[in-house]
């Protein structure tokens, strides 16, 4: 029988993926993909300055109807991104809030969500 070997890699993934949803309680014009990315970068710039705004953040998918998106960020900037999204309060002088639904170092893990399972 082959010897059992277990390998644990800590902090080996270089990117972290987040599924987020933007909540705009007033029914106004919805941002398109470019404006959404501008909003994320603005949030980073407010909380973490030019260094935060220069973080490599990508919007992988964006749905304008539900205002939900999948973001990818380099692992060293994960805490900065999440804290900036949490503390963002306004989009074009309208109240807004970011809800982070799922995060994972693997993109595949964002495809299933056990919270929305219908049993």
């Amino acid at each position: 029988a082959a010897a059992f070997e277990r390998r644990v890699l800590r902090r080996a993934a270089e990117h972290h993926y987040l599924r987020v949803r933007l909540e705009l309680p007033d029914g106004g014009a919805r941002p398109n993909a470019a404006q959404f990315k501008q909003l994320v970068v603005t949030a980073l710039r407010e909380l973490h300055g030019e260094v935060g705004a220069a973080l490599p953040v990508d919007v992988l998918t964006y749905e304008e109807k539900t205002l939900s998106a999948i973001l990818r960020v380099i692992s060293s900037g994960f805490v900065k991104l999440w804290s900036a999204l949490t503390l963002l309060g306004f989009y074009q002088n309208r109240r807004c809030a970011f809800r982070v639904l799922q995060t994972s170092p693997f993109l595949l893990a964002l495809s299933g969500n056990s919270r929305e399972l219908v049993l």
């Binding site: 980073l44 710039r45 407010e46 909380l47 973490h48 300055g49 030019e50 260094v51 935060g52 804290s83």
Partner: protein, 161 residues
């Protein structure tokens, strides 16, 4: 048991304007540095570095500045210093930049470094002297700062005899 540790950053203000050095004030410099930190590191960086931030020492003749901050955030401060491009005092804006000379844990180590640095700067000034009276001045100040060592050496020789 556990104490708050500070870092003291020794910098030099360098400007092409000759009036800039005479007009720098500690409050204007502190505001300029905090403004640069806010631009580079945002609200979080500004709040982090402002916990124990002061301008501890300022010498307007040589342009030497000593800043203090917490040990946890001195890297944020040092990385934001190159972004200080101008100083504003008495409604005049002078363009300048800060040269970081030394980062120390106490004011005493920074003072020891500054004394050493000023000695080497005096030697360099002596080489770049243009006219005779400047040369005399610099030579006098050089001798005055190194005279004590010569006296102790001559004292030792007399004792050996």
């Amino acid at each position: 048991m556990v104490r708050f540790k500070n870092r003291y950053v020794l910098c030099e203000v360098i400007s092409e304007d000759s009036r800039c050095r005479q007009c720098i004030e500690d409050r204007a410099l502190g505001l300029a540095v905090r403004d640069a930190i806010a631009r580079v590191h945002g609200d979080y960086g500004l709040a982090c570095c402002s916990i124990s931030f002061t301008v501890k020492y300022l010498n307007a003749y040589t342009g030497t500045v000593l800043l203090r901050c917490r040990k946890d955030s001195y890297r944020l401060l040092c990385s934001a210093l190159p972004f200080v491009r101008s100083l504003e005092s008495r409604a005049q804006r002078y363009s300048c930049f800060l040269n970081t000379l030394h980062v120390g844990g106490t004011i005493r180590t920074c003072q020891k470094f500054l004394i050493q640095y000023n000695r080497t700067q005096l030697l360099r000034l002596l080489q770049n002297c243009t006219n005779e009276e400047e040369r005399q001045c610099v030579q006098k100040s050089l001798l005055s700062c190194s005279l004590t060592e010569e006296q102790s050496q001559s004292g030792d020789e007399e004792e050996e005899d």
